[in-house]
């Protein structure tokens, strides 16, 4: 088969993987090698669906023995099958990298013979890149659930980031839609990776020469909307993964119906707005000090589609507002809709010089069309504000033409990934 045709089949099959980050790792290139990595990550292009391309995202093979309901590569689908050799992936990565098309490689695969068989081949790609090509760019390897600890360790030593897909947000859904995959086979390597990464950090504190294990951390992905879990359940799961498994990122992927299967819901379009709201809520967990139970409750377990989750929280908590911009501490500023991590820091830096006024807030970059209802500057509100929640809701909805209407897809800036 022509290489061109393999690329078509195996990048087409990889496009449902959400992750494309190239951040979180800083690797100096060597004098005789090619490539380095940048802590903040670099996007190299944006595909026709608007998502950033930073890695050569490709499957080693789409020839799968599993038959998961949601997956385009499931064994019962009559799709063209292809497999790369390790050398082909290595050469493609190098050719693309030298032309500055990519930051590195994201390699995943279907499982044909056995998890170990596939994992071994994927690890070999990464090891050839590192050892023979002296490649210093970014490598993200998917771990095949069920592969041996030894292979997971080798993967972690060769790659910058490794990830195990959780696939679906609950054990029951996994059983129903991917009966050949087992929860334990997914969680065991996650735990192992967390432990190994911790050990490596300790060793590196003792000696700079100690090997680095997945320096950009581990991530996972789950499909949203193929199964009945609520947003609250999903966020609680994510919080658990961040806290207990020490994950760097959880990716949410709106379910795209690629198969006819009566176990799957019938959707007219992928739930992109829901995906977007989940990413916003995930951000609140990681950088804003919110807990899942603050964002959602058993009475209202799903995210509001009309408002971003922080605005929705603010509308439910009028007692917290208004926040005085010139006195509030960082954590309090972060709770104001329209004020993000960057603008909260800028407010604190600017008010050392002079009190911040409404005009100053705009200069700092605060989204005033949201923030103005929730703040005072040196005691002065923006204008006579009606704090009555129902009317405030209405004003935010009407005044916010750009807030939604069109489901926006989250762009994942490398900055905090």
């Amino acid at each position: 088969m022509e290489l061109q045709e393999k690329i078509t089949i195996l990048s087409g099959a990889a496009r449902y993987d959400a992750s494309c980050a190239s951040s979180g790792s800083s690797r100096e290139g060597s004098a005789c090698g090619v490539g380095n990595t940048s802590q903040g990550g670099i996007c190299h292009s944006w595909s026709d669906d608007g998502r950033c391309i930073s890695l050569l995202k490709i499957l080693l093979s789409n020839d799968c023995r599993y038959d998961c309901a949601y997956c385009v590569n499931r064994s019962s689908n009559p799709v063209p099958r292809a497999s790369f050799t390790a050398r082909e992936v290595v050469d493609l990565t190098m050719e693309f990298y030298r032309r500055n098309y990519i930051e590195g490689l994201f390699l995943s695969s279907a499982v044909n013979v056995s998890p170990d068989h596939t994992m071994e081949e994927m690890v070999r790609v990464a090891e050839i890149l590192r050892n023979e090509e002296r490649f210093g760019g970014y490598i993200h390897l998917k771990i095949i659930p069920g592969s041996s600890d030894e292979l997971v360790r080798r993967a972690g030593l060769a790659a910058d980031r490794i990830s195990v897909n959780i696939e679906l947000p609950s054990h029951e859904s996994l059983q129903r839609l991917a009966p050949q995959k087992k929860k334990e086979a997914i969680l065991a390597p996650m735990k192992l990776i967390g432990t190994e990464a911790g050990v490596s950090l300790v060793e590196r504190r003792k000696s700079r020469k100690a090997p680095r294990f997945a320096p950009a951390g581990q991530s996972t992905q789950m499909i949203i909307g193929a199964s009945p879990e609520t947003d609250l359940q999903i966020l609680q799961l994510s919080q658990g993964l961040y806290r207990k498994m020490n994950l760097k990122r959880v990716y949410y992927s709106a379910f795209v119906p690629v198969n006819e299967d009566n176990r799957l819901p019938v959707l007219s379009a992928p739930p992109l707005l829901r995906e977007h709201r989940l990413y916003q809520a995930d951000w609140l967990l990681r950088f804003y000090g919110f807990s899942p139970e603050e964002i959602l409750s058993d009475d209202a377990p799903n995210l509001d589609e009309s408002f971003d989750p922080k605005t929705a929280w603010a509308l439910r908590h009028p007692e917290f507002f208004p926040v005085e911009i010139n006195r509030a501490d960082y954590a309090t500023l972060l709770r104001v809709p329209g004020i993000g991590v960057v603008s909260a820091k800028r407010i604190i830096a600017a008010r050392r010089f002079a009190p911040v006024t409404h005009e100053g807030m705009k200069k700092i970059g605060v989204v005033m069309k949201r923030a103005k209802y929730f703040i005072t500057c040196s005691g002065r509100p923006f204008d006579k504000i009606d704090q009555q929640p129902a009317r405030l809701r209405q004003r935010l909805l009407l005044g916010d033409g750009s807030e939604q209407k069109q489901p926006r897809q989250l762009v994942l800036p490398g900055l905090f990934a």
Binding site: I58, Y101, F353, V411
Partner: protein, 245 residues
């Protein structure tokens, strides 16, 4: 109000700022602009003095390294008409050190930092969007037309990244070029430029990349507006994946 003029070069700008700060004039009551060579122009012309400009940079680097970085990005923007803001920004940087970059509620600080940030953003963008092509002799060429004059820091980035290959970066807007020979960087201007012949394999790899680019998008999620807002059309001219559109 004191009025001063300089010759319009970045060096002239920095040395004029140095001279004004030394004179003891209050920067808040001083205006600085480019000399237009008209008959009745008002203001005192300050001569460019490279050594003086260098000395100012040196002192500022000690006092406020981040502000020097901002100043460096600001000059990449090749903007005119903000000289007075820059003068006041630098005066504040000497007074407050690096904290000055946090004083975004000050109109001059805001103006300078905003321009510098724009240039910095384009530099970062070009690190991703620059495309190298292999030439017949085995060396590599990347062409670009950025809004800001980012070739120097961009070339430094690639001198670490693509250390083992010989390459050129050509800025078609400014007719300037950077060259990495595998060991050292050099910069120069090209009055005439014609694109050399590509290596025989180059077309094949470009096709591979175009195929990848096309198939990696999820058809059900097509979003050309989002694509354009992240990757403005002004960059497409030199993007391999956008050729033939």
């Amino acid at each position: 109000m004191n009025k001063y003029l300089y010759d319009g070069t970045p060096e002239g700008l920095v040395s004029a700022i140095g001279a004004i700060l030394e004179s003891g004039d209050d920067p808040e009551k001083t205006v600085l602009g480019i000399r237009q060579d008209t008959l009745f122009e008002e203001g005192l012309f300050l001569r460019t003095d490279s050594a003086f400009a260098e000395a100012l940079f040196g002192r500022l680097r000690q006092r406020a390294p981040d502000a020097v970085q901002t100043l460096w990005y600001f000059t990449m923007a090749e903007t005119s008409e903000l000289e007075t803001s820059l003068l006041r920004y630098i005066a504040l940087a000497f007074e407050h050190g690096d904290r000055v970059n946090g004083y975004l509620t000050h109109p001059d600080v805001k103006a300078v930092v905003a321009i510098a940030r724009k240039a910095g953003r384009e530099l970062h963008r070009m690190k991703g969007l620059l495309r190298f092509e292999q030439l017949r002799d085995g060396s590599w060429l990347a062409r670009m037309e950025p809004d800001h004059n980012v070739i120097q820091p961009l070339a430094r980035h690639f001198s670490r990244r693509l250390r083992a290959q010989e390459w050129f970066i050509y800025d078609a807007r400014r007719h300037s070029a950077a060259h990495w020979n595998g060991h050292a960087l050099s910069f120069g201007n090209l009055e005439q430029f014609s694109r050399p012949k590509l290596s025989p394999e180059e077309r094949v790899v470009q096709q591979h990349w175009q195929t990848f680019f096309k198939t990696i998008a999820i058809p059900e999620r097509k979003n050309p507006r989002l694509q354009q807002s992240n990757m403005p059309a002004k960059y497409w001219k030199y993007l391999t994946e956008k050729q033939g559109e």
